[in-house]
């Protein structure tokens, strides 16, 4: 089966009329969707809303990109770091998820996509104290917001 390759362009700050920075990334939509279904959706639910104790991705995960530690957190959590996805596929599904679910939580409506190399370096340092780390990152981000 030949995968349909798709090019997703992310235009940073374009909607807000800020200086136009363009990040261009390759996302194979069919592959990324499949990997989301296989490795994320079971807990995070089909639309990323989460449920109960399972944190939502929808209109939430983009918040983490507001800090360096937060950016690392999305890769270092067990669901990402210990999945059987390759570094390139994990980077792709993270970018796909940000594009499809992060919505209003993205800083200035856009983001710098993850690369396979960045993912490789981050997942080599998996998190131990996940909930405490998460709370600390969210507190740091909340303190930034004017």
């Amino acid at each position: 089966m030949t995968p349909v390759s798709s090019l997703a362009s992310v235009v940073a700050a374009g909607l807000l009329g800020l200086s136009p920075v363009v990040w261009s990334i390759d996302i194979n939509d069919a592959r990324a969707r499949y990997n989301y279904q296989m490795f994320c959706q079971g807990c995070h639910t089909p639309d990323g809303s989460g449920y109960g104790d399972i944190p939502p991705l929808k209109n939430m995960m983009g918040l983490f990109l507001r800090s360096e530690a937060g950016r690392g957190f999305l890769v270092r959590v067990p669901g990402s770091a210990t999945s059987k996805l390759s570094h390139a596929d994990l980077a792709e599904v993270l970018n796909w998820t940000l594009e499809n679910f992060a919505g209003s939580s993205l800083p200035q409506g856009s983001y710098q996509p993850y690369s396979a190399q960045e993912v490789a370096e981050l997942r080599a340092q998996p998190l131990q104290e996940i909930q405490r780390t998460r709370a600390g990152i969210l507190a740091e981000i909340a303190a930034q917001t004017p």
Partner: protein, 174 residues
Amino acid sequence: MMSFFDRLFERSARSVAQSSSRRGLLKKLGGTLVGAAAVPLLPVARADNHGGGMAKPVEQGSDTDCDYWRYCAIDGFLCSCCGGSANTCPPGTEMSPVTWIGTCHNPSDGRNYVISYNDCCGKSTCGACLCQRDEGDRPPYRPDKTNDINWCLGTASAAYHCSTAVLVGVAFEE
């Protein structure tokens, strides 16, 4: 002055009376009430609401048999033997929103599909059509790919009743 108001209100009241009827109001009001009441009755796809535009699989076999293609990794009672179906829970039970997901090969069209094994919860075990196929099942240290844990997570009750095999999408192949 008062006669001016009298004439004004008389004219507007007659104009409303000529262009409408008492039953017309009842008809519109009734339609709105019934329409609003019917909205929650419309069919709602829950776990399988991801497959917009997805190619439909060629179906063969009975969903009350363990051999049915979608049950390749099932371990439990088939909801289709318990008053539900391969996609829906029996009355009185609640589908767990948290689940594990795998793929099954459909021999009728030669394709692999993504299957979500949502459990139905809230009643004691169904007891009918126990199936254990376990193809692709992994040990609990890979929790997102194991059928050995009770997936009644996120439901009001953790009592396991039966298992579904909801079609999520077509598996991606390089």
